[in-house]
């Protein structure tokens, strides 16, 4: 479908001559440019294509409930998937510039306040997977990154990710996406700062503090050729978009389908603005739940369309993807329980404040 896909699966056999390598890069760049042009053409004409498909090709009558649901789906599904592909590709390339080693060098020995701000921002662009949380934690702390600064990174990295942002943008508009990113960053900065103030270093497992992490060289320290960066971006698309597309489609089906079948204000009583306890409850329910951003979006979509308040729903989403039980269990290897509880408590409190704030402002 997209010409760029071919480049990712093209064989890169061993022992190619430099000359053919250059041709290979050139052809890959051409493919990416062609892909970008095709992307832009499709994306800017998507609305016309979608309504042509629904009303002309399928011959549905405008105005019927089924037709508008179908038109919504036929327009939204490719739109969100295309945005996701583009953003995941771009973020994949950006991430080749921010290895964890580099991020650590930037953060080591920083003063706390500025360190928290930087760490939260770097958490967004540094490649991270919660299964690497432990080696990353030790790698940071043992080379002089302050504990609170490390936490700012560990909070921001999972909570603010490209998938969450694209989905929020695609389904609820850029204001909600920006609010989510802005407040997510604020929580990461503030919670990390608080953890740093509390001086909780004694609750790091003893063996970690004795650990002298190799500051080791590793692959990716040298200059990375652009062909590798492009390759990395395409890999990210295959990996992430390949994994999340069913959830995205499910989210859009919920948005398109449920409409009209569940009473409009079904959720308003329990998750509306009126219920003051709904925000803390949503966070409490969200913490033990574990899902990626794509998995939780169908739920968010359904809750919002049925009258739940935006702040409550965003707080729920942040709690689900930002604070996960599996990650805390992994971190238990390096942190004693009081520190984990404090961490979850501080972040949870931050999320609750954000939930109330949104409900009050919007």
């Amino acid at each position: 479908m997209r010409p760029g896909d071919d480049a990712a699966s093209a064989p890169t056999g061993p022992g190619r001559a430099p000359m053919s390598r250059r041709c290979h890069l050139a052809s890959r760049v051409v493919l990416v440019l062609l892909g970008a042009a095709a992307w832009w053409f499709l994306y800017s004409n998507l609305e016309a294509i979608a309504s042509w498909f629904t009303y002309t090709l399928l011959g549905m009558t405008a105005g019927s409930r089924l037709a508008s649901a179908l038109a919504f789906f036929v327009y939204e599904a490719p739109k969100v998937l295309m945005l996701l592909t583009l953003v995941v590709f771009a973020v994949g390339i950006v991430r080749t510039f921010f290895t964890p080693e580099r991020t650590r060098r930037i953060l080591a020995g920083r003063r706390e306040t500025l360190g928290n701000v930087l760490a939260a921002l770097l958490g967004v662009v540094t490649p991270f997977c919660s299964c690497s949380a432990v080696p990353l934690f030790i790698g940071f702390v043992s080379t002089g990154v302050p504990l609170g600064v490390t936490f700012s990174f560990l909070i921001a990295a999972p909570m603010i990710n490209e998938v969450a942002l694209v989905l929020l943008f695609g389904l609820f508009g850029w204001k909600v996406a920006m609010l989510y990113m802005g407040t997510g960053l604020l929580i990461a900065m503030a919670a990390g700062w608080v953890v740093g103030r509390l001086k909780l270093e004694r609750w790091i497992e003893d063996w970690v503090r004795q650990q002298a992490a190799g500051t080791g060289h590793s692959a990716g320290e040298g200059p990375v050729p652009w062909s590798d960066r492009v390759h990395f971006g395409l890999d990210a698309v295959k990996d992430i978009v390949g994994k999340v597309w069913p959830y995205v489609l499910a989210g859009i089906v919920v948005g398109a389908g449920i409409h009209g079948y569940v009473p409009e204000n079904f959720m308003a009583a329990i998750m509306g603005k009126g219920a003051w306890w709904s925000v803390p409850l949503a966070v409490l329910i969200g913490i033990p739940m574990y899902s990626n951003a794509a998995g939780i979006l169908p739920v968010v979509q359904a809750l919002l369309s049925k009258g739940a308040a935006l702040g409550t729903v965003l707080a729920f989403m942040m709690a689900v993807i930002g604070l996960s039980l599996p990650e805390m269990i992994i971190l238990r290897k390096v942190l004693k329980i009081p520190l984990i509880v404090t961490f979850a408590g501080v972040v949870g409190a931050g999320i609750i404040v954000v939930g109330y704030l949104f409900n009050a402002v919007l």
Binding site: G13, R104, P127, C131, I138, G214, G216, G220, D235, K333
Partner: protein, 79 residues
């Protein structure tokens, strides 16, 4: 030659182990393949993103599963 796979058992670590086993078989290499799952040992190498691939003591890939072609190059160039 000695091939080490550094990782605590995440899905990607298993994927890397599988593709390494396949590449070793395809290339007909005489290689000792070791899985390093101990966090101490991983961190001591300076690795912060798992899985990582170490060939004869040199870190050749971090935080990703190289494609079959790349993997053959990483392993093939060592013989």
């Amino acid at each position: 030659m000695k091939i080490e796979i550094l990782g605590t058992g995440c899905p990607k670590c298993r994927a890397l182990a599988d593709s390494v086993a396949k590449a070793v078989a395809d290339l007909g290499l005489q290689a000792e393949v070791v899985k390093v799952t101990d966090i101490d040992a991983i961190v001591n190498r300076g690795v912060m993103l798992t899985p990582a691939l170490v060939v004869d003591g040199e870190i050749v890939a971090v935080g990703r599963v190289p494609s079959a072609g790349d993997l053959r190059k990483m392993l093939g160039g060592k013989e």
